[in-house]
């Protein structure tokens, strides 16, 4: 049952017969051409921010994306009003983007391999993470675990959504709790950090991918400009907190231009494969250090009730030592 909002053309769905000025090199770019280059300036390589569904179309095998939970709808839990009420902001964002909140998730194939994919949309209230975004990230992770398929999250976010108060803050914990389970289940997780990935999104699921991929020059930082400017005044070097900065500081594995991102992901998916489960529901390569002989021998030695052998047998058997191919 497809659920669609009434929507008007979103502001980043440029009319194809018009021109856009590149904010980096100031070149005038014909929108149709810009779409063909995946909204990357052909002159200077500037990566324009793109809507979630455009991103998805770039990445997945054509027609393979099955959106899930498009009907999740944010709630104004706090009765939050700043210069205008939160519900008004939500409605405006929904009308301009055609989305109910700042993330889209679903399953798809990429290069023929099934994945669980969640993509954030900066056009929706700055890609901020409230309860719906957190819920979608969580469900994407749970689907990845259940189906033992890789999880891919593309982040583009100003951080936690202030209008949802500490519920928004709790999304850091919710999403990290899920990511910990993804890792414990030996399910691969690729994090793609697009411009910008900041605040609570950077400080939760975006920073802890098995492989962290950043788009060139993407702004990535925890402390927001205005926040840190108001608190600590210090000179920041050029390139500070850009993708290349994080590469050299060890937090980003790969910087990949948008034109190569799909191929890069396909290549990585060829390597990062969830190993099969053993008989008792644990990945065969699970990382827990359980040296076989010494602990089971100790049990026998220390429990001293006379049945160490049978206990050893159980202990060994329960670890599911199936022959390997």
């Amino acid at each position: 049952m497809p659920v669609r909002l009434p929507f008007r053309p979103r502001r980043d769905a440029y009319p194809p017969d018009l021109w856009t000025k590149c904010p980096s090199c100031a070149e005038m770019l014909f929108n149709k051409q810009l779409d063909k280059s995946l909204r990357v300036c052909p002159h200077c390589g500037h990566h324009f921010r793109i809507p979630a569904k455009v991103r998805i179309a770039h990445l997945v095998d054509s027609g393979s994306f099955m959106e899930r939970d498009a009907d999740l709808q944010p709630v104004d839990a706090l009765g939050f009003v700043d210069l205008k009420p939160y519900p008004d902001r939500l409605v405006a964002a929904q009308l301009s983007t055609g989305l109910r909140d700042a993330a889209v998730w679903g399953t798809a194939t990429i290069g023929g391999r099934p994945v669980s994919l969640c993509v954030m949309d900066f056009g929706f209230i700055g890609g901020s993470m409230g309860s719906v975004v957190g819920e979608k990230v969580a469900r994407a992770g749970e689907a990845a675990i259940a189906e033992r398929i890789p999880l891919i999250i593309v982040s583009s976010s100003g951080g936690a959504r202030m209008q949802e108060g500490t519920y928004a803050l709790m999304q850091l914990a919710k999403t990290m709790a899920i990511v910990e389970r993804v890792k414990a289940a030996s399910v691969p997780y690729l994090s793609v950090l697009a411009d910008p990935t900041t605040g609570g999104v950077f400080a939760s699921f975006a920073v802890v991918g098995d492989v962290n991929i950043a788009e060139p020059n993407a702004l990535i930082r925890f402390a927001g400009d205005r926040v840190s400017a108001g608190t600590i005044s210090e000179e920041l070097p050029p390139g500070y907190a850009r993708a290349e900065f994080w590469f050299s500081h060890g937090f980003v594995d790969r910087i990949v231009a948008r034109a190569h991102l799909r191929d890069e992901i396909i290549a990585l998916l060829g390597f990062l494969i969830a190993p099969p489960l053993n008989g008792i529901g644990e990945p065969i390569a699970a990382g827990a250090f359980k040296p076989r002989s010494f602990l089971s021998a100790l049990t026998g030695a220390l429990s001293g009730d006379g049945s160490p052998d049978s206990r050893n047998g159980e202990s060994n058997g329960s670890r599911g030592e199936a022959p390997r191919g």
Partner: protein, 327 residues
């Protein structure tokens, strides 16, 4: 900055407006004479051994951690540490932690797990240090991993918000089985100043932002983010730090007792479900209002006896297949 951090005692007379009242509460939460981790431990614990260092880069003086004996129990205590005067504040970097602080905390938490010791954290931080030194060494990564570790740590965790529960910097030590808060503490997704600067484009609207974010302990209790509020003595914790510590001690012991009766598996599963459930939303094709009844988090917290009220908003159960559409 020092001025702001030192805070101002709230006015003697009645605040003249609800906004002023909330702002007075914020200032109260920031009062540097409130007891911080080391002051609390000194009263609460019969014995305390501080441990130092992240084994990677440094020892962050804005986060302290150690082994404590409270009421005969061996526990691990980890918390933020502001200074009580300017000199100590400078030494403690105004209580603003760098990544090393969270990495030290993680190291000690893993030790707590290994030796079956419960973890008690004290949360009082404006936020992580927002400068380049913290950023480039991965404050975001440190907070994310600490939050993740706490979500799965196989030992009980009791969190006490004692002053400022500021943003991700606070959450980095605030994921637990029970989250308590001192009466005059605050908890917020961003500092009121930061919120005002972004949404009102003016830091002068900080009080208004504090009101809008519902930062007070009582409001956070209503939301179910906090499980119980601990009343402060006299005119506030800063007027009687020792009595404050004794009150915290009593409540913490009670919760350690309750949590100690659960199996580790049940404990970790309940903690997971608590955080998994946070955050209200509705489902568009079933446009009923958010259901006003206790949610998963409440049911789970029912496992442990706490004095608290109902959460006002809970997640609507997902009963049918979700909507799908193709791109």
């Amino acid at each position: 900055m020092v001025d702001r951090l030192l805070g101002r005692p709230h006015a003697e007379g009645k605040p003249e407006s609800p906004t002023a009242e909330v702002w007075a509460h914020v200032q109260q939460a920031r009062n540097l004479k409130r007891p911080h981790t080391l002051e609390l431990v000194k009263v609460m614990a019969d014995e305390f051994i501080e441990l130092h260092g992240d084994r990677l880069f440094g020892d962050d003086s804005a986060i302290v951690a150690g082994l404590a004996r409270i009421d005969g129990r061996r526990i691990v205590v980890i918390g933020f540490q502001k200074g009580q005067d300017t000199e100590e504040n400078i030494r403690r970097n105004f209580g603003l932690p760098h990544p090393e602080g969270y990495r030290k905390a993680m190291r000690i938490m893993e030790m707590a797990e290994r030796f079956a010791m419960p973890v008690l954290t004290f949360v009082d931080v404006q936020g992580a240090f927002p400068g380049a030194a913290a950023e480039e060494r991965g404050i975001a990564e440190a907070i994310a991993r600490s939050v993740g570790l706490m979500s799965r740590l196989r030992t009980p965790i009791v969190v006490v918000i004692t002053g400022e529960g500021g943003s991700g910097g606070a959450l980095g030590l605030a994921v637990g089985d029970v989250v308590l808060a001192l009466e005059n503490s605050i908890y917020s997704v961003i500092s009121p100043e930061g919120c005002a600067a972004i949404l009102w484009r003016s830091a002068e609207q900080s009080a208004q932002a504090a009101v809008a974010m519902k930062v007070t302990a009582a409001e956070q209790l209503e939301f179910g983010i906090v499980d119980a509020v601990i009343p402060e003595p006299g005119e506030g914790a800063h007027t009687d730090p020792a009595e404050t510590a004794r009150r915290i001690r009593g409540v913490v012991i009670e919760h350690l007792d309750s949590l100690g009766r659960l199996s580790v598996d049940d404990l970790v599963e309940a903690r997971f479900k608590r955080y998994r459930a946070y955050g209200p939303y509705t489902v568009a094709d079933r446009p009923s209002a958010p259901v006003e009844r206790p949610g998963i988090a409440h049911r789970l917290r029912g496992l442990i006896s706490t004095r608290r009220s109902m959460p006002r908003f809970t997640r609507t159960p997902r009963t049918g297949p979700s909507g799908r559409e193709e791109v």
